[in-house]
Symmetry: C2
Subunit: 418 residues, 2 copies
């Protein structure tokens, strides 16, 4: 049989290890050159498939592909773009088929989170619905850790490590200064719908740090929160607060929404940290500082979790192996065999069970008061942030992150308007 080519694309918010998955896909395809042709990467995700902007990864050296394992963000570009259903937008699916046919693509590897799993599932149905044979395998990725079935989503462990390390370090700082200066430090972290990332900040309680976490899963109770901050400061001299961007009031509104306005009275975007800081100032008068980690947290390849890097690579490799075994509409998962010692293996999930299902934190991961995490949560989290997988550094003192050539293949089709 002739070797079909593969299409690979990155989707949604990028992570510090999504390129490690790309590396796993491409290296495994290269190792199976007798059965898979070239790997074309979509420029800016699925958009590249629609616009026929396909990057020929075969032109990249083995060394540069290997360097992807140590490079953050999306080397081929990602996008926020969700395919509609076939009924709503048949035109896009027909275009995908045209592009796949034109470039002899038989494998579709899609690297993303929940929305992307939905896209991948739709593509996986093309062989049935439009009679075109393509095997679609989803490669899990999301810092939000909210995909179902898999024990963890590659990308999450590294953010969790970054947040735990950063919160620990900043807490040491505040502890030093609390006598005459800052007493409350507030760190805003990602997590619009689920508190997984903020929960990682809760780990530093094990290191003697007086820390409170504010999770989207727990309705924010101002009075209880203020009392908890006062208690920490009175007993420890200071308090660290790790707040999820998705922290919300009992009425469902985000804390971040509760109204900061610029000089012209325009609602100002963003920042739950300053909102919490002002609550503390108004109620307790403590001196405070706040930080917003934003993209720094999900791009921080310099402090990636070795577990996470290994798993990100493994799901990329497994996706190709599943395709070679004839699978379609599946996603490799991380199955936890045991926590102590930590053992895991690759499993498989049907995409029909993954698409559009969101996993939030189990309630038994959240401590009674709602401001901390339980031992079950600790047992879950620690293995995921274990180990350091440092990038190499150049002589200037900066990491050697690779930028690929990203040369596009010649287009064969008429232009397509998105």
């Amino acid at each position: 049989m002739s070797s079909k080519n593969a299409f690979y694309a990155q989707s949604g918010g990028v992570t510090s290890v999504i390129n490690a998955s790309a590396c796993g896909v491409i290296e495994t395809c290269r190792a199976n050159g007798d059965r898979i042709g070239k790997v074309y990467a979509g420029k800016n995700g699925i958009i590249g498939a629609l616009t026929e902007e396909l990057i020929d990864t075969s032109l990249e050296s083995d060394a540069d592909i290997a360097a992807l394992k140590k490079t953050p963000a999306g080397a081929f570009g990602s996008c926020r773009f969700k395919l509609k259903s076939l009924d709503e937008n048949k035109r896009e699916y027909e275009r995908l088929i045209d592009v796949f046919k034109a470039h002899d693509i038989g494998y579709f590897f899609y690297n993303g989170g929940g929305d992307s799993a939905d896209t991948c599932f739709k593509v996986s149905q093309l062989s049935k619905t439009l009679g075109f044979p393509v095997q679609a395998i989803h490669v899990p990725k999301t810092v939000d850790n909210d995909l179902p079935i898999t024990d963890v989503c590659p990308g999450f462990g590294s953010v969790a490590k970054y947040i735990a390390v950063s919160a620990l370090e900043a807490s040491f700082d505040v502890a030093s200064m609390a006598k005459t200066s800052t007493k409350v430090f507030i760190l805003e972290v990602m997590g619009r719908h689920a508190g997984w990332i903020a929960a990682a900040g809760g780990l530093i309680e094990d290191y003697g740090i007086p820390v409170l976490v504010l999770l989207p899963e727990v309705d924010f109770d101002r009075d209880k929160f203020i009392a908890a901050v006062r208690d920490k400061v009175e007993n420890h001299g200071y308090c660290t607060v790790v707040v999820s961007e998705g922290a919300r009031n009992a009425d469902g509104s985000f804390l971040a929404e509760q109204g900061t306005r610029d000089a012209f009275g325009h609602a100002q975007l963003g920042g739950v940290a300053p909102v919490v800081a002002n609550l503390v100032r108004d109620a307790l008068g403590y001196k405070f500082h706040w930080a917003v980690a934003d993209y720094l947290q999900r791009a921080a390849r310099h402090i990636a979790s070795a577990t996470d890097v290994e798993q990100a690579y493994a799901v990329g490799r497994a996706a190709v192996e599943l395709a070679l075994d004839g699978h379609n509409a599946v996603m490799p998962t991380i199955e936890r065999v045991s926590s102590d010692p930590y053992e895991w293996r690759i499993g498989t999930a049907d995409l029909a069970d993954v698409a559009n299902v969101e996993k939030t934190m189990p309630l038994d991961f959240i401590s009674d008061g709602g401001f901390g995490i339980t031992d079950r949560c600790r047992e879950y989290l620690y293995p995921l942030i274990r180990g350091e997988d440092y990038p190499d550094y150049d002589d200037n003192g900066l990491p050697r992150y690779v930028t690929l050539q990203n040369r596009l293949i010649e287009q064969k089709l008429p232009a397509f308007d998105l």
Copy 2:
């Protein structure tokens, strides 16, 4: 002669390597046990000397003292507290002498920035003015890099490395997403009066990143800035902005002051990043994200510069050696011998020339347009961020930072009201 004891204290905002200086002081004192007695550390800086809260560092193990070299923040507590002049507050000086006499202290090592150098200088004059023999040596430290005479201030190199690495990583993230999402990323960094830290963000231009820096040294010109952002986005698809917290308008007011108010109309504290973000939104409509590094940057021991750690230790050691050589009212400095290859040695500055003098960025470090740095600045900065000096990590995946016992010695004097 009998061995006098030494007093050591940390002062002002802490850094990721101030404990490396403490390690240098204590280890060098231990190595000279025939000439120096115990090292007493001030609990919370100079306040501990006034309140006679002295930590007996001789009770700490060699291993724990060595671990200080890899632990961020101030292990003995720091403070923001400036001694008044002798004329204004003789009572505090007399108290210091009482404490020094009671505990046979002949050496005063003070680890801080500009204000602290002033305090140290005042203490150094006690032998002349109040007839009490004490040798006072200042140990330089400040992330602001604004002490005169010394080529660099320990603490700065590690922040510079953190900011350059973080800005590079976040820029990779934005570059991935810019097609359909964030086009402008704004990172707020420290530097109230000098742009040294923001300048480090400018280094990533060498890595192909379209970056603009906003420095306190350059009057902010809204129209020029907006035009520069537009230019970067149109030519590169995205733009990274590294803004100093001290960025200011032509009238001297801070950008951060230009008025965000909470729902009640109260002025809201902090955050030049959201102010810049809103300027970009209003003028250009680009999607943006912003981060505020705050304490994360100066506590980030996990990504400390090896050069910085080595120099922080060296000034601690040199301070003790200067004292043993009979010096008073001096500060060890870092003298740059050459940039390429980078060579440096320890020098000495008179405290009279250091106290209350602030070094800002040379104008020839700032590029013509005011939004970037020059080759001279690059040549200055790169050696300071070179090398990685990683902490050890425990089995959980978190750094092994030491917390000392910090046992206080028995007090001999009546209480003292601050």
